[in-house]
Amino acid sequence: MGCTQTQHEKENNMTLFKQIALMLSILLLIILATVLNLNFKAANTSVEDRLYEDAKNTATSLSLSLGSANGDISMMSTMINANFDSGTYSFISLVDVDNVLLYERKLESEELEVPEWFLNMITMEAPVASANVSAGWSQVGILNVQSDVAYAYNSLYSILKGLLISFSIIALVGLVILHLLLAIILKPLTGIQKQAEAVIRNEFIFQEKIPYTTEFKDVVLGMNNMVSKVKAMFDKGNRELQRQKALAYRDPVTKLNNRKYLIDRLPEYLKIDATSKGGINMMISLSGAIEANETIGRKKADELFNDIAKLFTTETEEYENAIIARMNGTEFSIFIPDCESMHGLMMAEAILTNSQFVIKKYELDNSETFLSIGLYEYNHKQSIGEVLSHSDNALAQAKFKEWNIHLAKAEDTVEVMGKNAWREILLSAIKENNFSYVSWPVVDAKEKKLIHNVLSLTINVDKETTYSYGQFMAAANQIGLSDNIYKNILTTLFKSPDSSLNYDTYSLRLPYEFLMLNNTYDEMKKLFASYALVLPFKLIIEMPDKLISQNSELVQDYKRLFEKYTIDMGVFEFIGDSQNYQYLQDLRPIYIKGESNYFLSQNEQTLSALRLITDSVGISLIATGVMNKDTLEQLEAKDIHIVQGKVTEEIQV
């Protein structure tokens, strides 16, 4: 089973996109911060220069004006006052040639409209501009002028605010553009990632759009190549399995199924928890086949067989589960679950009557060439051998009957408890939720490893009375309570999982009828939405091959629902009875469970074709009902190592 990365792990990992985006964002912000800093410093210098230039201009022009005062201090003071009051100066002073202060004006208080932190951050020094003052040829002294820094601080603060706003906008726009550019550049990577994730999930996605970037292009081409090869492998396995199935299960003349097919299908109906409690198995023999062959020739005889086979199909078409098989050259079997004896007899008579018309059509004598039909009314607790031998007996008797039809019935098994008693127990168990879980292991005999545990149920009536699944499920099926039981099991499992379920992985088998119920999917959806994420173990829901191979809308809905809540899908009762195995690729169950007899009866070609399919999509093969070491060894010889059944008790894990 493939090891996939969980959503949680993925979220913890930093994607390439995030890493590059983070790196470039930091770089962009550093560049912007540096540019902002440089800009601000330049503005600072420029403001300082401006302060000096203003002071210098004032000093020069004022010194020229002062020269016209011919050394009159009061005149010069007035001129200085006029200048000081009209401008923004920190001070204006006039010193004589001996550096003695003649006059000075100083700003008394500075009103700054900037915050304290800004004042602390910026150290600004307004340069003093000086000019010589002279009256005629005589020197008066030196005029010193310093501009007021308050103006500069206010200007700089406005500049800083403007810079911060514009740079924030640039940073924001830059980051958005960066994000978009990265998304465009790395878009092929998303495709590659999806393809890689699909490969992990054993899906085959072929990327049609080849990226322009060389590295990405090489990776995509490589992945496409790999995917094509695996896909080809799957298709080859699919074709081979179909071919082998045709060889193994089909009668080449009548295109009906053969005896092997019937035997592989019967376990589905002859089991303790079978939904169908019984039915009719008809054994039909064509007498006079050799004579017919001699009379009308091989080709015509084959056509006769075909026409008779069509009769079987036509007469049983109202039973969708009927299995029609050609058992040997002259014998056929029609296995009809849920068919009552009276209706079986009517069908047999219809077949017999119609067969006489068909035989006549080939100008054969009805007294020489005719059908005999033995009907056996079986019940689901019987073994395959019992059903077939009783059916053979019925046929043998039919051959001696005038009408060539004989009906035999299985002896009614004496029930320990009556239906009413079971109904009471089951209804009470459902009401009071008296079910408890038991589990048995599925083990990899080669790796000596526990693969998962299969969940089963018991009903605990009281301390001394416990009914096993095998005991109560047969009764539940007969009474029609099995669906309620499965609904109850699922609800309990999700809402209040048993604390004894302390293994990592459990599988739960759900029958065809339950899964096909109208409201099962919706109820499961609600249940999963509320509880699936807190389930303390990994759950695998097993679905019958009969359902899953339909690959219907419903099955796909189930698959999507399971995937959403990381619940795996398994297949049970697999006998490879499908026209196409594409459903295995589409649905990718994590394993296929088949009866050990099924695997053992397959030839090497069929198994290797099946392996080709399952290996290419990462599906494990599991043999169920493995009772002893001998069977295990035979399975291992066929390279099947994961087993379920009594033999697991003997495997040291």
Binding site: K56, V95, N132, Q139, N144, Q146
Partner: protein, 214 residues
């Protein structure tokens, strides 16, 4: 005895070398000037050095006379013709190297030569004047013995130095002394100002002097 005489001679030589004044134009710079302005320029600089050396122990007046006479020997030519600019303050090396210049160039060269001779910079001013004779703006170097005394005028149009009162043809407009303004700037803020600026042309001249523009 001979050894004693030799030692004495050597001692006198060492002392005289140690205390001898650096030349106005150092040797390396003179070589560059020679390379750029050829041999006659070198000779002019050597003659300047000789002139300066002759008055180095004299009075301020003797120094003013010698420097004024020497530099007034340089031909007057407008900045436009010499430098292709309307107004350019040439370094003393450019002025004597090219052997031509306008009134500011005379003032600058005289000013730095006088500083070399030990005249106090506080006594020397660049003075913008209006010349009624030429009906044009003009610049002269003025020397104030004391801050309040009548200045002496060093004019490139006049080989003789006169007190200001004798120069009726000149109307003073503006006095300027770069060094005193530097000092004033420092005293104004109480701090040493980096990248000092006092007067745009003066600042540019100081930069050119520092970079030894010839």
């Amino acid at each position: 005895m001979n050894v004693f005489k030799l030692l004495l001679t050597l001692s006198v030589l060492v002392v005289s070398i140690t205390y001898a004044q650096e030349p106005y134009v150092e040797k390396e710079l003179l070589n560059k000037i020679t390379k750029k302005y050829k041999m006659f320029a070198k000779k002019r600089f050597l003659y300047l050095q000789k002139t300066l050396d002759e008055v180095k122990d004299g009075s301020d007046l003797e120094k003013l006379e010698a420097v004024n006479v020497f530099y007034n020997g340089v031909r007057y030519m407008s900045d436009k013709k010499v430098y292709g600019k309307k107004d350019y303050w040439a370094t003393p090396w450019q002025f004597l190297g090219k052997d031509r210049g306008d009134c500011e160039d005379y003032v600058i060269s005289k000013y730095f030569a006088l500083l070399y001779l030990g005249v106090d910079s506080k006594k020397l001013f660049f003075t913008y004047v209006k010349s009624s004779k030429f009906k044009a703006t003009h610049m002269v170097l003025t020397y104030f013995k004391t801050p309040r005394s009548e200045p002496l005028i060093l004019d490139n149009n006049n080989h003789k130095i006169f007190p200001a009162s004798k120069r009726k043809d000149l109307t003073p407009i503006y006095n300027f002394n770069g060094e005193s303004l530097y000092r004033a700037n420092r005293s104004g803020t109480g701090k040493k100002v980096s990248n000092q600026k006092t007067h745009k042309k003066w600042d540019a001249l100081k930069r050119n002097m520092k970079r030894k523009i010839i």
